[in-house]
């Protein structure tokens, strides 16, 4: 038994250890430079979106990869891929498929056992995947019903190019980056230091805060309250899925299902 045979020394590493500070500072400088440039000269259409996507999601993903022990170059690759995908997406809905390069890059790293610390190694329990689909479908379905009833929004036709582009964006940037950082990195580290409830509260607060500052979220009170409500439940559910299964995949699946429902409202992307 570990407690009897393995040496132990009190103390743990800082929660934010291995944060790629230089990379994050560089990304922030690029964003500031882009903002300054945009304020002085007109930029091509979608240029700021490319910068925003690459900087925002790239910073989250690069931080998660660094916390998992990957070399800083891995994070840079992710940022470059996100920038390229965002640029391709400006050319047309089909260009958004380029976002799928990011999960392929992450899967490539996971296959080489470099993302064990993010819960991306080993088999995924089928029951956890089923529970993830149920959770995402329940929250997404509830969102569709309650939003259509209270906010009067309409559901987009399924299969529209815009919806598919939004789904690709979620799979490659939005959901992947958020789940990797807030679940795989932050929650996983926190639950190994404190109780499940504390880790859940921390990860959920950070997760909700990330979406509240997202410029794509409508700023009306109804939407903000709704976002807080659903994202809190989604985050809590995903934390529980991660804790139960030890894998990040179920959380990604439930978030993808939920955001798929959200994209049907026609407010995202």
């Amino acid at each position: 038994m570990w407690a009897l045979v393995r040496p132990w020394r009190p103390g743990t590493r800082p929660l934010l250890a291995d944060t790629p500070t230089r990379l994050l500072v560089a990304v922030a400088c690029v964003v500031v430079a882009a903002l300054v440039l945009a304020s002085r000269t007109p930029l091509p259409t979608g240029a700021m979106r490319v910068v925003g996507v690459a900087a925002g999601h790239g910073a989250l993903l690069a931080t998660a990869l660094a916390w998992a022990g990957c070399v800083p170059g891995s994070g840079v690759v992710a940022i470059v891929l996100l920038a390229a995908a965002a640029a391709a997406a400006t050319l047309g809905p089909a260009g958004a498929l380029a976002y799928l390069a990011v999960p392929l890059w992450v899967a490539w790293l996971a296959r080489r056992q470099r993302l064990v610390a993010l819960g991306l190694a080993g088999p995924v329990p089928r029951r956890a995947l089923l529970a993830a689909v149920v959770l995402g479908a329940f929250l997404g379905g509830h969102l569709l019903v309650s939003a259509s009833l209270t906010l009067g929004v309409h559901i987009r036709p399924v299969g529209g190019a815009g919806v598919l582009a939004a789904l690709a964006y979620d799979a490659g940037a939005n959901v992947l980056a958020a789940e990797c950082l807030f679940r795989g990195a932050l929650f996983n580290r926190a639950q190994r230091r404190w109780s499940f409830a504390t880790a859940l509260a921390l990860a959920t607060a950070a997760y909700v805060a990330r979406y509240l500052v997202d410029p794509l979220l409508p700023k009306s009170v109804e939407w903000v309250v709704g976002a807080v409500f659903y994202l809190t439940l989604l985050s809590a559910g995903n934390c529980w899925l991660f804790w139960w299964s030890g894998s990040l995949v179920p959380g990604v699946v439930s978030a993808l299902v939920f955001f798929a429902a959200y994209r049907l409202l026609g407010t995202g992307g």
Binding site: M1, L4, P7, W8, V116, H142, V145, S146, R192, G246
Partner: protein, 489 residues
Amino acid sequence: MTRGLAAAAALTLAVVTALIALTGGGPASVLRHGFLLPVVALALAFGRLGGALGTGAALGLYAPVVLLEIERSGLTPETIEGLVTCAVVAGVGALGGALTTRARRQRARYETILTVQRALAGATPLEAALGRLRTVLIDRLRAADVGLVVRDGAREVVAGADRVAAGSVAAGVLAVGTSVFVPDVGEGRRPRRVFATPLLVAGQPIGVLAVERVAELDRDERAALDALGVHIAVALENARLTSRQRRFAEELERSVASATRRLEELDRAKSAFVAVASHELRTPLTALQGFSEILAARSLAPEEVRRMAGIMRAEAARLGRIVSDLLDLSRIERGLEPTLHRVPVAVEAALVATADLFRRGVADTIVVDCAPALPPVDADPDALERILTNLVSNAVKYSPPGSEVRLCARRAGAMVEVAVLDRGAGIPGDALARIFEPYYRVPATSTVRGTGLGLAVVKALVEAHGGVIHVESARDAGTRVAFSLPAVP
């Protein structure tokens, strides 16, 4: 059962929601109270998790009805009723779930304590009891692993590992006597929590209970484990005392049995001694009586009178030795040392005198071999004479006629070692350890005259001088009896 209940609760929620929607009752519909039923049932059946899931599902279905009405009409008495219902459902779910979980944990703790007491109640060795307790605790505590360490005197009994490694959590708890919680041991996809609590008896750690779990181990449960540690410590202490008492009783039984056997042997030896001593005393007395009657009744030639007087003197001396041995043995058995009057005694002269006493016939079969410049010994001359007489007498008695008996002496540090060697049949190995016991006689020598007291007296006399005596013997190769006495500086 649980799946059926969950399905029934889900069905009830769906039916209540559908009825409210179909009847158009709105947030103040009397049917809204139907949401309480599945929430309470789930809370009672599954505790905190069931209450939370039931509440979440009920509010998820009922909240759109209330929120839609609030958006349409604002805060009216109906919408306020709806909000109150939401609060009641949430409160009932949370409270019912929390109370159920708490009651279950409490019951589980009592059952665990009972299980621990049952596991340690059997009359088994500590190792087996710990192993059984560990198995029970893994099951009861839903633990991935459980380790137990108990100090039993100088040794540590461990269950769950071969030993306690230095620097481990258990070693630290044993040393300091306070609990340690490790939120994650750093292995595996899920956090493995470890909690180690000391087993305290009278404030002193007698062991450690370590629990490893791939699940939550919250503050309440850690406090419960601390309390469980106290119960286990008391139960283990009782088991240890019982085990020790049992061992003591068994040892006592063995000692009593051994002492009884020894007393029986002693009794038999004494009975045999009485018979032998009677015979040994009677023989010289008979000789003295017979020769004295002959001397009184007849006129004999002077040579014949001298011969008879010599025989009478030898028999009287023999009688005197037996009586002296009996007196010495009596003192030894009363725990008294023989009275000694120590003076410097020349060893070589004593050996020669003893050899002269036992020389038989023409052939000189008793050889004295002393190292040159041997110092005198600090001894009682009479005691030394009796020691030598006894040993040489035995050597002569148990040697074939005509075989050599050798008396040797040499210096050994501050002592002088004297050895008597014969070429007799030797002493059997199993008898060697007992030949200095009073009344003991080697069974194969029962045809030879003797009382079984001589060597016991010799040993007592040697030890009274501060010396030691030991015997070496080989089958059919002879016996060597050596003793040491302090040399005069």
